[in-house]
Chain length 447, copies 2
C-alpha cells in the first residue's frame, strides 16, 4: 500500500475518530462509516456512559495528534478516590503521587473534538450507514444507507473495524474458519443517576475526586461534570438479593438506596423516577483472535471490550491507535507486516487489562473500605516515594504510565502482591510499618 | 403446553432426529427443518466424519426409543485401543473389563434409521429449509425454502435448535442481552484418509479395535467400517513443523506419512491424491449460556460442541435428549419448569465432558505410548477388578456408564489421578505393584 490508498474505518466513536486522524496525517484517504446519526447535529442518542476517565495512555495518543492541551482544558482532574461510608463519612485515598490525577471528561465532547479535527485532515464521515456485510477476500463492505434505503458495496485497500463491543466487522469475522471468540457478561449491570449542580454551578460533592460508595457486593460511583453536576453509576447484580431484578417496587428501591447511599440520595432529585426511567445496561467482556483477516482489522472495543472498573477501556483503545501508528512508521507502512505484528504484540496486553479491570471491581466495591487495604496502599506509597523507579504501585503502572505494557504491569503487580501479602502478616504491622526495611523489600522484586 | 402443541426442531442430524422421536412419542406434533437435502435420497453431501463411536450413554437413549438392537446389529464392537509404533509393532490396551466395548457406527446410517423411525411417529421433515431468523418473543421462525426461494415466517409453541456447532438458533440468541458465548478452535485440524477392504471384504487391520498411531504432537486413528474398510483420521497442528501448513509438496507429505505411519501408509492407495483431495477440517469447542430464551432451547452441539477425542459428542447429545424427556415426565410436560431445570442441571455436565475430551487428546496422542501410563492402567484395572463399584476408571465412568454424571466422573477422576500420581512415585513400582495395599488405596477415595 502507499499513502494514496483508501482506508475504510467503521465506527465514528472515540477510537474510530482518533484512528482516522492518525491515518489521515500519514496521507491516507480515510472514509468513516457510522451507523448512527451525527452526534454533532442530532441529539437523538446520548451515547453510552456520559463521562469517562482519561489518563496517561489516552493523553499520550491525544498529544501525538495535537489535541491533548485542548482536551485537558475541559477535563476535570480527579486526584483520588473519595470514599463514602454508610453514615456519609468521607475518606480520601490519592491515586498516585502529588500532582498525579485522572481526568473526568465528557464522552460526547471528546468525540466531537476528534471528529472535527479529523475533518480538518480531510477525513470524510458517512453517518446513518450500517455495515451489512464484509468480504475479506475483496476487502469490500456492503453498506446500507438508512436515509436513502440503498445498499452499496464498495472496495477499499484496507478496512478497520472500530465499531465497538457489538462490532459488525467482528461478527463477520466470527463465522470465518478458526476464529476464536468469547463474549462474557458479568453478573452486575449498571444504571446512571444524576446529581445536578448547586447554585452558581457549584459541585455539591468534592469536585476533584472520583466518589465511591463501596458496599461489598455492590457499589455506586460518581464522576464530576464541568457544569457542576455529577453522574452517578450504580452497579448491582442482576439476580439475587439487592439486585436489579429483586428491587422492583418504588418503596423497596427507596429503602435500599436511602439505607446504602444516604448522603448521595439527598442530592438526587426525583430519585425513584430516575431509577425507573434510566436504562439498566449490561457489562460485557469481549475477547477474540485473530484481529486480522487479510486486509481487515478490528481495534479497540471491537477487538477487546473490557469492564469499566479500571477506567482503561478508552485509554487502551487510544493506545491501540498509537501503537499501530508507531508500527506503520517502523515498517514504512508495510501493512501486512504491521497488521501481523500489531495483533501479536498487542493481544497479551489487552488480555492483561481485561483481567486487571475485572479484579479492580473487587477492589473498588470491597477492598477500598478495608483497613488492611489502606495500610497496604500507605506502605506501597512509601516504597514508591523512596524508590520511585523500582516500586511503582500497580495502579500507577496502569494509569500514570505509557511505557510499561499492561502485561508487564500485571506480572509486576502479582509480584508486588506476593511481597505485600507476606509483609501484612507481620505482627503489629499497623504500628510498626514505618520501621520496615524498605530497601530489602524493594530488592525482593528482582529475585 | 399440552400434547397437541406444535414443536419445531431445527436440524435433522443425529440429535434433532432422535429428539423428534422422543417428542412425537409424547404426543407432540413435531416439524423438523433442515438446511440440507434429504441424505436418504441425495448424496450431495457425505456429512462430516464418516463413522462415530457409540457407547453406553448413547445406547441408553436408543434403547428408550426402541432402536438399540437394530443399531447394535450394524455396529462394529471395538474392545480396546490398538497402538501402532514407528516400526509397525502393535500393542493392545482394553477399554474396560471383558465384554465392555465401544461401537464403530456409520454416521449417515444411524441418521437414516433415526429419520425413518421419526417418520413412523408422524414427524414431518422439511429439507432445504434454511433458518434465517428467530423471534424469541413470538416463538417464530423465518425459513428460506431453497427450492421455492420463498421466505415463510411461522409461529410454534416451542422451538428447539439441534442445528449443530454452527447453529442458526444459537447465533440469534448470541445477539440477545446477557448471552454468554465462546467458540474456541484448537491448534489441530483433521483430515480423513481411506483404507479399503481386502479380498472378500476382509478388514486389513484388526477389526475389533480402535487403531491409534500416537506420535506425541500429532496422531492418526482408524475406525472399522462394516464393508471391510477403515476410515483413518489424521490430526495435525495447523502451524509449525509437521503441520497442515508446512506439509505442502507431495514429496514432503509422502516422506512425513511414510516415516510416521509406515504400516498404515502401505494400506492407503493413492495416498498423496487422497491427502490433496480430502478436506482439512477444523475442530471447534462451543460453550454458551443460557440455553433457553423464552420458549426456544438449544441442545446437543448447538449448545456445547466438543472435540472428538473422548468419542462423546453424539453420546452427550443423545443423553441431552434422554434427560429432557425424563424431566418432561417428572414435571408433566410443564415446559417452563423443564427448560429451566434442564439447563441448570445439564450445563455442568457438558462443561465437564468438554474438558475431558480436550485432555483425552493428550492421552491418545502421547500417553498411550508411555510405559508409566500403561502401568497406571494396569493398576487401575486391578483396583476395578477387586472393587468394581468403588474404583471405576475414569474412561469407564464416562463411556460404560449412564448413571454417573459427567461432572461427577470428572471430579472422581481427579481424585483417582492424585492417588495414582503418588503411587507411581513408589520406588520399584514396576516390579512391586501387585503387592500394593489395594484396599487402603480404594479407601483413600472416601477421604
Amino acid at each position: 500500500m502507499n499513502s494514496r490508498n483508501h482506508i475504510a474505518v467503521i465506527g465514528a466513536g472515540l477510537i474510530g475518530s482518533l484512528l482516522s486522524i492518525y491515518l489521515a496525517k500519514r496521507g491516507y484517504k480515510v472514509s468513516v462509516f457510522e451507523r448512527r446519526a451525527d452526534m454533532r447535529v442530532s441529539n437523538t442518542e446520548a451515547g453510552r456512559s456520559i463521562n469517562l476517565a482519561l489518563s496517561t495512555r489516552g493523553i499520550k495518543a491525544l498529544e501525538e495528534v495535537g489535541l491533548a492541551d485542548v482536551l485537558k482544558s475541559v477535563a476535570i482532574p480527579m486526584h483520588g478516590r473519595m470514599m463514602h461510608d454508610l453514615q456519609g463519612n468521607l475518606s480520601f485515598l490519592p491515586y498516585g503521587r502529588e500532582g498525579q490525577y485522572i481526568n473526568s471528561i465528557s464522552r460526547s465532547g471528546l468525540n466531537e473534538v476528534l471528529m472535527n479535527e479529523a475533518e480538518k485532515h480531510n477525513v470524510t464521515f458517512h453517518f446513518n450507514n450500517k455495515c451489512l456485510a464484509v468480504d475479506f477476500e475483496q476487502t469490500s463492505l456492503t453498506l446500507h444507507d438508512l436515509n436513502s434505503k440503498q445498499n452499496v458495496t464498495k472496495e477499499f485497500d484496507l478496512i478497520i473495524g472500530a465499531d465497538g463491543a457489538f462490532s459488525a466487522i467482528r461478527s463477520a469475522m466470527q463465522i470465518t474458519d478458526r476464529f476464536n471468540y468469547a463474549q462474557h457478561y458479568i453478573e452486575h449491570s449498571y444504571k446512571e443517576l444524576h446529581i445536578p449542580a448547586g447554585e452558581n454551578n457549584k459541585h455539591l460533592l468534592e469536585k476533584n475526586a472520583l466518589h465511591i460508595w463501596p458496599r461489598e457486593s455492590f457499589m455506586m460511583i460518581a464522576l464530576p461534570n464541568p457544569d457542576g453536576s455529577f453522574t452517578c453509576t450504580l452497579f448491582l447484580a442482576n439476580q439475587g438479593s439487592n439486585s436489579f431484578n429483586s428491587l422492583t417496587t418504588s418503596e423497596d428501591i427507596s429503602t435500599f438506596l436511602t439505607r446504602n447511599f444516604p448522603d448521595a440520595v439527598k442530592l438526587i432529585p426525583g430519585l425513584i423516577n430516575q431509577y425507573h426511567t434510566n436504562p439498566t445496561s449490561s457489562l460485557v467482556m469481549i475477547k477474540c483472535f485473530p484481529w486480522v483477516k487479510n486486509k481487515t482489522l478490528v481495534i479497540g472495543d471491537a477487538a477487546h471490550a473490557i469492564v469499566p472498573f479500571y477506567g482503561q477501556g478508552m485509554n487502551a483503545g487510544f493506545e491501540d491507535c498509537r501503537i499501530l501508528n508507531n508500527l506503520l512508521s517502523k515498517h514504512n507502512d508495510n501493512w501486512p507486516i504491521v497488521l501481523e505484528e500489531f495483533q501479536t504484540i498487542r493481544k497479551p496486553d489487552t488480555d492483561a487489562i481485561a483481567e486487571l479491570a475485572l479484579s479492580n471491581f473487587i477492589e473498588m466495591r470491597d477492598l477500598v473500605a478495608d483497613p488492611k487495604f489502606l495500610l497496604r496502599k500507605k506502605i506501597e506509597a512509601k516504597l514508591h516515594e523512596l524508590y520511585p523507579d523500582k516500586w511503582i504501585p500497580l495502579y500507577s503502572m496502569v494509569t500514570f504510565n505509557d511505557s510499561i505494557r499492561y502485561s508487564e504491569a500485571l506480572a509486576m503487580g502479582r509480584k508486588q502482591q506476593m511481597i505485600m501479602d507476606k509483609i501484612l502478616t507481620t505482627p503489629e504491622i499497623n504500628a510498626t510499618w514505618q520501621q520496615l526495611n524498605f530497601k530489602e523489600i524493594v530488592s525482593q522484586l528482582e529475585r
